[in-house]
């Protein structure tokens, strides 16, 4: 890919692959310490209930039970708003109302059954639009609308925009509850020793967790150590501190024994966070030449009982505000609290929902205009010069046009797309596409950015990064950047990730940001270390510092082919120490934006309603590819998850009781290897102005474009427009059998 780099952009083996394929990697759930207590939670069976009384006497008396804690034990503990550490009002089915700590899991589970709880069931609401009505049961005193009023985005004049339009189209779209379903459930192992707490955690945010625990326990931050060598899957669920961490930490401190709390799979489906459902009411105006004149959107999100993503609906509304050039835009973001499970960030927070709605909407409008969907997008998508209309700042890079071209070429869209393809036989084929743009992949002004690099006397290198390795390859990416900057071999680099005693905060490993954030931190630290090496080399080799270079672990002067081993220089460091420090304050008015275009080919078997994704071309502008294998893996993995968002995943709730009926892997419908859509990853390098070596993140964006590309391809194949996810084969079959989609007849 890049001749100018020795390591960046070239295939590199994942640094922790050996430990993962041999089973030697120790995840938090693998930890077991002598005398360790096991914690289990008693969970509310009601979606909304006051806890009138809890009698844990019999539970405490069970041999092997060490402690039972209830809400009053956490009343003075500061946890993360909006969620208290434990509530005396249960607000969703699965809400923790008591904790048992026992010598083993079985004893703890047995003790749960001995706790007698008097509940006062309260009126509950599990529909966001119902929750916003004036007579809805209030889940919090301040009401069910987060912030008390909608968040309004507005530019230009929406009335003028509609007045200028030749065509106005309005429609409603909706997406359901999803869950991250990380392979490793939420788990914490806490150990308290002489005033210091060590917390092993399956996390995406070790420093946030460290600070939250210190505050909750009222101890110094310096006395809390969070360690996470590898997280068994995150996808956004583990960025914010989870309650299991404060429970384990509290028990460890109270008892002096190590304490482990690991959620079982059904508990994880209930009490971890979820992707928030969204209802998008879109009304767009266009001129007959295809120019957008007005974008109006009302986005309502169901945040469940606790909204870890805050103004959740706003993150979906961002799609309508920033992907297309349009002077007149008005959007309302409404986030409603309900008695459904808590929601939070899940891969590309809000954008898969918003992108599904917008890209299906654009597809309908293209058809009404008689325009090729690709040409309609080309006419309206943002270019570099348009800037971020949402934040009113320039783009630092924008490769969207190239994404569209390359994706279109790969699928041969120009030759193969037809408005009404005629496929004979019961299996119909169709093509569809979608665009996406977002600030995932950017540094965030509010977050830390740092890294440390140490060069040892033998010329090998230790890299310390606060990024967590959750499978997106952060450890390897940091190693690649350090090795490239220093001029050493990858084999000589060892990366330590996510240990608050050793690494420094570089923001949470969410938002696709670590390539940018942690990457810049490590880059700066490596530059600092390199500078120290060059100073030593200049003295040792009696050469001009400017003429010295380091390549493949050897030091060269000028154009000389004869290199000196790096250890000859490193070992001469004053005091034997070379430590590179990288700290940067991210600029407050600069965001990198990731862009993508997805092109899908599907086949629909009209006899069974089964949709097969035959090809999914996923083209991503990621600025510069640093970790090639990691980027391919992220694009494929994210896009496959996105196809499941489209076709199969949904958490279902029983309406009369609020109970989730599929809190398990069998009925939640995760994609297996047989379901995995063939994703062809392609990378566009627009060379970002602020990312390290021009890189932006790419962990999340692949999720967003997949579902509308597929939904649009389904329409192209069978003439049925789906505006609600998931598009299961049952839904497809029902619509086909109702006579929809017959070519030439009603649509």
């Amino acid at each position: 890919m890049n001749a100018e780099f020795r390591i960046i952009g070239k295939p590199q083996r994942r640094l922790d692959a050996f430990d993962k394929v041999t089973g030697r990697m120790k995840y938090t759930s693998d930890y077991s310490l002598p005398g360790m207590l096991h914690l289990k939670a008693l969970r509310s069976p009601y979606p909304h209930a006051r806890i009138v009384s809890i009698d844990a006497q019999r539970a405490r008396a069970l041999p092997g039970v060490r402690l039972v804690l209830t809400q009053k034990d956490f009343a003075s503990v500061t946890w993360i708003p909006p969620q208290p550490a434990m509530s005396d009002v249960a607000r969703f089915v699965g809400d923790e109302i008591a904790i048992v700590a026992a010598k083993d899991e079985e004893t703890a589970i047995e003790a749960l059954a001995l706790i007698e709880v008097k509940y006062q069931p309260l009126a509950f609401v599990i529909d966001p639009e119902e929750a916003l009505k004036p007579n809805a049961p209030k889940i919090f005193p301040q009401g069910n609308l987060i912030g008390g009023k909608p968040v309004v985005l507005s530019r230009g004049s929406i009335e003028k925009g509609f007045a200028e339009a030749d065509l106005v189209y309005e429609a409603r779209y909706s997406t359901p509850y999803l869950q991250h379903a990380t392979a490793e459930t939420r788990v914490s192992v806490a150990h308290w020793d002489a005033g210091k707490l060590t917390l092993w955690e399956s996390t995406q945010g070790p420093f946030e967790l460290q600070r939250a625990i210190a505050k909750a326990l009222k101890i110094p931050v310096s006395k809390v150590r969070v360690i996470c060598e590898a997280t068994g899957g995150g996808f956004g669920d583990k960025g914010s501190p989870g309650r299991q961490a404060i429970y384990a930490s509290t028990v460890a401190r109270l008892t002096g024994q190590p304490a482990k709390m690991e959620l079982e799979r059904d508990e994880n489906y209930l009490a971890a966070t979820h992707r928030f459902p969204v209802i998008c009411n879109l009304k767009y105006g266009v001129k007959k030449d295809g120019t957008l004149t007005a974008i109006q959107a009302k986005v309502t999100a169901d945040s469940g009982a606790y909204s870890i993503a805050g103004q959740a609906a706003l993150s979906s509304l961002e799609c309508m505000a920033s992907v297309y050039r349009c002077a007149n835009m008005r959007g309302e973001a409404i986030t409603a609290i309900t008695n459904n499970p808590p929601t939070g960030p899940m891969r590309c927070v809000g954008h898969p929902q918003g992108t599904f709605a917008q890209e299906v909407h654009m597809d309908v409008i293209a058809e009404k205009l008689g325009m090729d969907p690709v040409e309609f997008r080309r006419k309206n998508h943002v270019h570099l010069e348009d800037g971020d209309q949402f934040r009113k700042i320039p783009f630092t890079s924008n490769g969207l046009a190239e994404c569209i071209t390359r994706g279109s070429d790969a699928l041969q869209w120009g030759q193969r797309w037809a408005r009404k393809p005629q496929t004979s036989g019961p299996v119909k084929r169709g093509l569809g596409m979608a665009l996406h743009g977002c600030r995932h992949g950017s540094m965030l002004p509010v977050m830390a950015l740092s890294g440390l690099v140490k060069v040892n006397v033998d010329g090998t290198v230790n890299v310390y990064t606060g990024a967590t390795e959750l499978g997106s390859g952060q450890r390897t990416t940091m190693g690649i950047i350090a090795a490239e900057v220093l001029g050493v071999l990858m084999d000589d680099v060892y990366v330590t990730a996510a240990d608050t005693d050793m690494t420094t905060d570089t923001g949470t490993t969410t938002g696709s940001r670590q390539t940018n954030t942690g990457g810049n931190g490590v880059r700066l630290a490596a530059l600092d270390a390199r500078n120290q090496l060059l100073d030593i080399a200049a003295t040792e080799l009696k050469a001009d510092k400017k003429s010295i270079s380091i390549r493949d672990g050897k030091v060269f002067v000028g154009s000389s082919e004869k290199g000196v081993p790096l250890e000859d220089i490193a070992s001469k460091a004053p005091g034997g120490v070379i430590v590179g420090r990288g700290v940067m304050r991210p600029p407050s008015d600069v965001f990198s934006h990731a862009f993508a275009a997805h092109f899908a080919e599907v086949s629909v078997d009209t006899r069974t309603g089964t949709v097969r994704v035959e090809r999914l071309v996923a083209v991503h502008d990621l600025g510069r590819t640093i970790n090639l294998l990691g980027a391919e893996n992220q694009i494929q993995g994210g896009a496959i998850q996105g196809t499941a968002f489209c076709l199969s995943e949904r958490q279902r709730f029983d309406t009369p009781t609020g109970i989730c009926v599929n809190p398990d892997h069998l009925n939640y419908k995760l994609p297996t290897i047989k379901d995995a859509a063939p994703v062809e990853p392609m990378m566009v390098e627009s060379i970002d102005a602020v990312g390290p070596f021009g890189a932006k993140g790419v962990g999340e964006p692949p999720y967003s474009g997949a579902s509308p590309a597929i939904a649009n391809a389904i329409y192209n194949a069978i003439g049925i427009r789906f505006t609600e996810l998931p598009i299961t084969n049952r839904e497809v079959l029902a619509r086909l059998q109702a006579g929809q989609g017959q070519r030439g007849e009603k649509r």
Binding site: E116, T231, G233, L629, Q636, G637, D664, T672, K674
Partner: protein, 208 residues
């Protein structure tokens, strides 16, 4: 949708919420867990007045795990997964669902891929178990593991041991599988990170 309930109605405590899985396993585990006994146990449990078999016993199983002989004293309701991870500290085999629905706990039983969470410890008596730990020794790793590393056939790595054991079971029978055969063999191993395409590449490349 709202629902008002009368507080004078009997309170629903978790003790009344129905048969727990643990109680079910307890009941089943007294006899050797053959399929017939399990079926009988299920129909007994569904009958309203059928008594559960009482008590949990200890039992001794003689087994070979990764080529080493073991004589283990187990409780009759423990699963093989419990024994491997908790009793023997062999944490390479992962627990993800504990409900036979994801494959993360795949091990080989007499060379055949099985879910450790779906077997009782009693089931390994006089049988041979192979776990992920058997495939490497120090720096030496199995060709399947090398292929997974080379093709980057993993992300978070949590499903990887189970995925590799299923792959081994396939390749031991069929060294040159087609893509369709790989998909069929690995259909019982969920990779939530969806590294599937690289996994397929890795498995088809091992003996190629």
């Amino acid at each position: 949708m709202s629902d008002k309930r009368d507080v004078s109605q009997p309170d629903r405590s978790s003790a009344e919420s129905g048969l727990s899985r643990r109680a079910f396993i307890k009941g089943v585990g007294v006899t050797t867990a053959t399929a017939a006994a399990a079926t009988t146990a299920i129909s007994q449990l569904h009958a309203e007045t059928a008594p559960l078999p009482k008590g949990i016993r200890s039992a001794v199983v003689q087994t070979e795990i990764n080529g080493k002989a073991y004589r283990l004293t187990v409780k009759t309701h423990w699963t093989l997964l419990d024994v491997l991870r908790r009793e023997l500290g062999m944490t390479g085999t992962k627990k993800t669902c504990d409900r036979s629905s994801c494959g993360a706990c795949t091990v080989l039983l007499d060379g055949k891929a099985v879910y450790a969470c779906a077997l009782l410890a009693l089931d390994i008596d006089k049988r041979k178990v192979t776990t992920i730990e058997a495939l490497s020794d120090g720096d030496r790793i199995d060709p399947i593991q090398e292929a997974f590393i080379r093709e980057d056939a993993l992300q978070c790595g949590f499903c990887t041991p189970g995925m590799i054991m299923s792959s081994k079971s396939l390749l031991d029978r069929n060294p040159y599988p087609t893509v369709a055969e790989v998909k069929e063999a690995l259909a019982g191993n969920i990779c939530r990170c969806a590294a599937y395409h690289k996994i397929i590449k890795a498995v088809t490349s091992v003996k190629a």
